[in-house]
Structures are given as C-alpha cells and as structure tokens.
C-alpha cells in the first residue's frame, strides 16, 4: 500500500504548492483591499485544502500549523477581526513557514522548530486577542500537538471502537470487512458485534447501501494514530469513535475525539517510501561482529569512543563551536536541497483543450495516411496531382501536430512572474523605498524548461532595479518624480522569440561612474573610446559593481554576469537601454523552445551546415573593392563603414570549397555576445526548422559545432556554434586534422 500512497503524495505536494501560491497572492492583494470578502474566502479555501490533504497524508505539523492560520483567517472572514498590515505580515510569514514545513515533509528533513513555534504563538495570540470563544478550538488543537502519547509505544493498549460506515460505502467499492481485517492485523480483536438495527425489511433493502455498524475491542501495541489510519479511506461521513481503555477497571479515558477535525497521524506515516533497508550495506562493525572477529561489547565500546569530526575540531581548537554549528546547518540545508531535487518529478499540467485538439489532429493524420496508402495500391501516373495534393496535406498535418505537441510544453510566463509581487513588497520594506510593480503579458507562453531557467535571472534583475535603479522617495521628490517608483515586467512575442523586459523609472545607469570603475578595475584602458552599448555591457563583467555600498539585497558585483551567462545558455540575448535620470530597461530575448531552432542551411563544398537564424544579422555578396587585407593576410570587409573580419568556413573546418573568392561566395554577418563576425560560405540553401540532436550522446563535443540535426534527405547536418567558430578562427594556426 505504501507505494500507492507515495504516488498520491506527489500529487499532494504539487497541489499544495499551487494552493500556497493562491494564498500568497491573495494575501498580497488583501493588503491593498482589506475588505474584499471574495478574496478572503479564496485564501481560506486554499488554506483549508492544504489542511485537509496534509492531515490525510499524515503531515501532522503542516495540518496543525495550517489550522492555526485558518482560525485567524476565519476570524477575518467573519468580520471579527480586521485585516491590518501587522496581521497580513504575520499571515505572509506564516505562509513562508508553511512552505518550509511542506518542503520538510517532502524531503523528510527536520524543520526549524523555533520559527514554527514563534509563528504559532503569534497566530494564536492574534486570534485570541479578538475572540475568546475561539480559544477552545485552539486549545483542542494545541493539546494534540504537544501531547505525544503518555504511554510507551510498545505497551499494550485496549481500544473500544464503534464504527458506522457511510451509506455510500458499497457504491464506492469499499469493503467493511477489509477494514476490520486490517484492524485485526494490528492486534487482537474481540467482542466484535454488528449492529443490524438499521436494517430495513428485505423488500426495502437497497443492496448498494450499507445499513450496518460495528463495535469491537482491539488489543494492540500500536498507538491510536495507527488505529485511526486504518479508517483513512472510509472516514468521510463515517461515525467513528475510538476510545482508549486505560485500565480494564479504571474505565475509559475519553480522548476519543471525533474523527473529523484533528486527524492525528502516525509519525512514520510521513515516511512512506519503499523500504530499501534490506539492500543497504552493513556498517563495518556489524560485519566484524558477525564474522566473529570482535565481540559485540568491544564494538560498542569502540563506537562509544568514536567522535564526530566537529567535536574533534572543537577540542583541538581548530574551530569554534559556532563555526561547526554553522557548517552543520549548511550541510543539513545542502542535504535537504539535494533530496528535494531528487524528489522533484517533473510533470506538467496540460489544458484539456490542447489534448483534444491534438487528438483531432492525429485523427486527421490517420485519415491522410489511409488515403495515401489507398492511392499507393492502385497508382497510375495520371493521378500524380492527387498524390502531390495528399502529400501537401500530410505535410500540413505533420506541421500542425508538431506545433501542438510543442505547445504542450508551453506554460504562461505568469507562473514565473507570480513570485515578484511578494519579492517587491519585501524589497521595498527592506530598502525603505516605495515601489509599485506592474506586470503585463503574463499569458505569453513559453517552454517549461525556459521558464524554469529564467526565474532566477529575472529575480536578479528585479532586485537590481529595486536596489540600484530606483531612488529613495526623498531623492525622487527632489527630482520632480512621483514618490512611488515603478518596476515594469512585460513579456511578449516578437518574431520567433519571446521578449521579456524589466524596466524601472529610476536613476538610470551612470556612464561616468561605469567608465571610472571599469578603468580602475583595468577592464578598459584610460581614455578608451567606447560606444554606449559597450559601456553598458561592462556591468555584465564578473565582479563589476558600481554600488557605493553593499547591501544585503545586491551590490556585490556577483550576479549580472551570471544573469548574462544563464540567458546565453538558453540561446538568448540580453540588452540594456538606459537614460540618466529616466530609468533603465533590460530586454531578454529568448527562443521559444530549446529542442527546435530556426536555422539557415548553407553549403560549403559538398557539406551542409545550419546556422542559427537568431545569430544572422544579414547576408551579402561583396564587391571586390570592399574586401581589404591587413598585414597581407587578415581580411576585412567594409559593411556600411565598419570593417569586420572575415572567417572562411572552409579554412576553419578544413573543407574543399567551391569558391575561395569572397566575391563569388556568400558572406553571412553573424553576431554573438555583442561581437560581430563575417563567415564565408559557398551558397545559402534555405531556411528551415531543425530538431537539435546531441553529439555528446554517442561522441563528444566538437569545437565550432553546437549540435547535429537530421536533414530532409536523412543525412546528418551540423549546427554551427558561432562563438566556437570565432574561437577557432582567433587561434594563430588553424587546427588541421
């Protein structure tokens, strides 16, 4: 059963994350509109769902904590308490805490109990302050939290159980006998009695209804949570009492709470992972004992002497206890992080409409295929036009299916944007600035993997805008600007790309400051002539920061280079537009998907290569007078008064070209990381979408080649890596095989 359960757990975590997002978003809005009852109801519903589900899955701490939040939310909902910023803040912090609790439940790691306790108390205090009547519920919940059963787990206990199953029990295919059998497995059942009083006359019996109820006595070594867990699947609408009989004589201890609200749960139920302990290797000591080399006592003695590395270091004064504690903390975090990474099963929620559409298209494809094979069996040359028509239809079907399948991986970018309202709220509080966040284009769709990988770079850009871009309210007022600064996040499609802009109306980049800093760090020579774009791109250099002081938000000069690298890894570009005193805009240009790129097929000699269309600026056939040489060798071409170096693809790749004269071949002007290069090929064949295939899978990375693809005729073509080409060309001697 545990395996099935684990499967449901994944669904729970996924849903919990969604509900948490709703709660957080709702709370942020609630701060602006404290009287919005619909909003409160929405938050309440999500919190309630988390509580219910976590209780069912045995995440006790989560359920308890959510219950506290719910109590407070309920008060707000009933108008017994008002939404103040203090309460909103408390609830937001609680949401964070809940998130960590759920993560902890997921990875099975311990949580920071102090925070949980503090917030629990805070929530209780906030609820208590307002209404006395609620305190009863509070107490009820908190006793079961702080009341680990007074009995030792292995002592035998007696439970008196009465159970009236819901009438729909049979309709859902559940068998009461199974439940009773399962109880029997826990210990010894006695005095099992069935109550048939509700049973109607035979003529009136509805065979799909359950009219029976049972009472029984269970003698078991397990505690009550285990007993309750047996009823997990039939609990809904059941009338269930489980009373523990303390002593046969002294009577009944009445902690038989109704099985509706506080579902206490077994601690081990939260670790329902497949049991792998059998296959684990034994510790060395065990093996030694087993093989009779040492005695058990000797081993225990040796183990008692063994110390933790941390303790030894402290003893030798190599590290302070605090340092060791910090390191341990870090280790735990890393463990948790690696575990949660492992636990993450990638899944995607797809709109049913998308799948329906896909099924329709597959239907069409099948029809086209049968028409074609029908035509094939009795084909005559006179029907060639029919054949061509059907082929065209097949092509259309295929293309549509391809697009639809790709769109399944597409998610609205709003999922990545949703974290920013909270971020900006916290940043504005921390930096003492008034910031307004405007989101647009949230419905723009892009590939799931792309969304996941841009979340961090975007966060960084927003932080930067809040910290460096926007001024303090006083400075803004001095500059005749509105007191509240604005950060705009926008996403839209442009060509085959998606553009995301992060824009602020702050102070803009300071040209002089950047130049001075760059000169100081030796990135540029003093008095070097630079274009604006070149200057702005300085901020992407590692270790570059113009911030006067380092804050805990940003300013360490780590980050912009990472942002740029991440974006480029996705095959995208980042550009800056800025105006002093008016603001800065970062534009990220990203491909829609990572698996397919738009490419230009070119020919060199007898080989075909694909150049990513994104990197092509233009192509041209030069006149002989615009090609110049430097030192007799290095070729330059004049493109609208800028001289660019020419790289001959056949030289770099040691091929046999058709043309060696630039005026006969075709020159492609390519751009990579802001650098331009002209690549010479024999001919441009056309433009097409290509599926990227890995070269590393069976071979290795080849310099100058980004990947392979399969061309229309079934042979392999290579996709050029413009950056790599440039690197090969820059080397003194070309690499010859």
């Amino acid at each position: 059963m545990s395996n099935d359960f684990a499967q449901f757990q994944d669904a729970f975590f996924e849903e919990a994350a969604e509900h948490l997002a709703v709660v957080e978003e709702g709370l942020l809005q609630l701060e602006q509109h404290p009287d919005d009852l619909d909003l409160l109801n929405k938050i309440f519903r999500s919190a309630h769902s988390i509580k219910g589900a976590s209780g069912m899955f045995g995440f006790n701490a989560v359920a308890q904590f959510t219950h506290k939040m719910e109590t407070l939310l309920d008060l707000l909902r009933n108008g017994q308490a008002a939404v103040t910023s203090a309460i909103a803040d408390l609830l937001l912090k609680s949401t964070d805490c809940l998130k960590t609790l759920i993560d902890a439940a997921k990875s099975g790691t311990p949580v920071d109990n102090e925070t949980v306790q503090r917030l629990t108390l805070g929530l209780a205090a906030a609820s208590d302050m307002n209404v006395k009547a609620e305190s009863k519920v509070e107490k009820g919940a908190s006793t079961s939290l702080s009341d680990p059963s007074p009995l030792t787990p292995h002592a035998l206990r007696y439970f008196h159980i009465t159970w009236t199953p819901p009438e729909w029990l049979f309709q859902r295919g559940l068998d009461p006998l199974q439940v009773i059998k399962e109880l029997g497995d826990l210990g010894t059942l006695s005095q099992v009695a069935v109550d048939v009083s509700r049973l109607p006359d035979l003529a009136e019996i509805d065979p799909e209804r359950c009219y029976l109820s049972w009472s029984m006595r269970l003698k078991t070594g397990k505690d009550r949570q285990v007993v309750e867990a047996v009823f997990d699947f039939v609990r809904e609408d059941s009338a269930l009492t489980i009373e523990e009989i303390r002593d046969k004589e002294s009577g009944v201890r009445s902690d038989g709470a109704k099985a509706s609200e506080d579902r206490a749960v077994t601690p081990h139920a939260s670790r329902l992972t497949p049991d792998g302990s059998d296959s684990e290797p034994k510790p060395l000591g065990e093996i030694l004992v087993e093989s009779g080399v040492v005695s058990r006592a000797a081993l225990d003695g040796a183990l008692a002497q063994q110390k933790r590395v941390g303790e030894i270091l402290i003893e030798q004064h190599a590290a302070s206890p605090q340092q060791v504690e910090q390191a341990l903390q870090k280790q735990r975090q890393q463990e948790a992080a690696s575990q949660s990474k492992k636990a993450d099963t990638a899944s995607i929620r797809v709109d049913t409409a998308k799948i329906d559409k896909l099924i329709n298209l597959v239907g069409e494809l099948v029809i086209t295929q049968s028409m074609l094979s029908d035509l094939g069996t009795r084909f005559e040359m006179s029907q060639i036009h029919v054949l061509l028509e059907r082929m065209a239809q097949l092509e259309r079907n295929t293309r549509e299916i391809q697009e639809r399948v790709m769109s399944i991986r597409m998610l609205p970018i709003g999922t990545a944007f949703s974290r920013f309202p909270r971020l900006v709220r916290d940043l504005s509080a921390k930096a003492g600035k008034k910031i307004q966040l405007v989101l647009s284009g949230e419905e723009t769709e892009l590939d799931k993997t792309v969304i996941e990988s841009i979340a961090d770079p975007l966060t960084h850009l927003v932080r930067n805008s809040a910290d460096h871009g926007l001024e303090t309210p006083e400075m803004r007022l001095d500059d005749n600007k509105p007191e509240v600064g604005t950060i705009r996040l926008n996403a839209f499609h442009e060509g085959g790309n998606i553009c995301i802009t992060v824009e602020d109306d702050g102070r803009g980049l300071d040209r002089e400051k950047i130049l001075a800093k760059a000169a100081k760090q030796g990135l540029i020579a003093e008095n070097e002539k630079l274009t604006d774009d070149q200057i702005w791109s300085m901020i992407f250099k590692p270790g570059f920061s113009t911030a006067d002081k380092i804050t805990d938000i940003s300013g360490r000069g780590v980050g912009m280079d990472v942002v740029k690298r991440n974006i480029e890894n996705l095959g995208g570009t980042i550009s800056i537009k800025t105006e002093k005193g008016r603001g800065t805009r970062f534009t990220l240009k990203l491909p829609l998907t990572l698996a397919i790129i738009e490419g230009m097929t070119v020919r060199v000699g007898r080989e075909t290569y694909i150049v990513p269309l994104l990197s092509i600026l233009e192509s041209l056939q030069p006149r002989s007078e615009s090609v110049k040489t430097v030192i007799g060798k290095g070729e330059l071409i004049n493109v609208r008064d800028t001289y660019l170096p020419i790289v001959r693809l056949y030289e770099v790749f040691s091929l046999q070209p058709e043309h060696t004269d630039p005026t006969k071949g075709i020159l492609l002007i390519l751009e990579t990381e802001g650098e331009r290069v002209v690549v010479m090929v024999d001919e441009i064949l056309g433009q097409q979408q290509v599926v990227i295939k890995s070269m590393e899978q069976n071979f290795r990375k080849v310099e100058g080649i980004a990947g392979a693809t399969i061309l229309g005729d079934g042979t392999v073509g290579f996709i050029l890596d413009v950056r790599g080409l440039l690197e090969i060309a820059c080397r003194e001697a070309p690499l010859v095989a």
């Binding site: 899978q697 069976n698 290795r700 100058g704 080649i705 399969i710 392999v716 095989a737």
Partner: protein
Amino acid sequence: MAAAQPETAMKGLHRPSESAMGGSQFLTFNLGEELYGVDILRVQEIKGYTAVTKIPNTPSYIKGVLNLRGTIVPIVELRTKFGMPTIEYTMFTVIIVVVVKEKVMGLVVDAVSDVLDIEKRDVQPPPNFGARINVSFINGIGKSGDKLVTLLDIDHMLSGEDFQGVAAAAA
C-alpha cells in the same frame, strides 16, 4: 569474456560442444586478408555502408556521423585507424554497430565473415612487436581451425580522448 555463451545456431565448422567451456562467441570480419573479431555481445547490428557526414577537425579515422533511426552515431574507419591503405567501398563493405561504454558507434570494415566460438585456451596474449605496432587495443590472438583471429578490445580502442576529451591530434 569468460562467461559461457548460450549455444546458438552456428555454421558447420565448429560444433557447439566446444562452446560451453569458458569460451566466447565472436563476430569476425575482414580487413584485407586479415581476420578480426569482436565480442558478439557488444554488437548491436550490422548495416550496409551509407554515406556519412564528415565531422570537421577530427582525426581522419573518424569517418563522420550517421543518422541511425534518429540518433547520431559516429563512424570509425578501421582501416585508417590501423594505418592500413584505404580501398574502394564494395557491396560487401558494412558498418558494424557496437556499444562501447553506453555509447553507440559504427565500425567500417571490408566484409563480415562469421560467428565463431573461440575457447579460452585457444586465445593467446597479444604478441609483442615492440614499438612498431601498437597492440594496446588487441585482447589476444584467437585460433579457430587454421584461421587466426585478432580479437579487438573495442572498449580500449574506442574510448580514448578522441571520443571523450577535447580535440586531439590525428592518430
């Protein structure tokens, strides 16, 4: 190599009775007059030679890559790898697709020959030719009747830095 192979259908020369004695089955192929063998369990398939796409800036014995049902498979020309003269491809020229450390690769050979059982005691260690010939990718010399089969260690042969590391100079 030592694992006994299940007896499978074989051609007449050698009876299955020999096979269960710690020998192995080898797919043998020709390069010129010489006979070579690879462990048959490493062979994924044999296919006729089709044109490949040359990979720029790789050693000459790496013939190129091939589209094998959607995956990109590098093709090694064994003649060049062994420093033998290249010949015109004929209708017998085939690509033996082998699996080397989870990577799939193809070997171009003159022709496939046979599947042979070679017992362990019929395999002698690689001869020592001194510096003249590199024998590091030879597992041993197998005897099968009056035939001599050079047994190749394809793991060693096809997992050097040419296949994994950065660009290496020609062999």
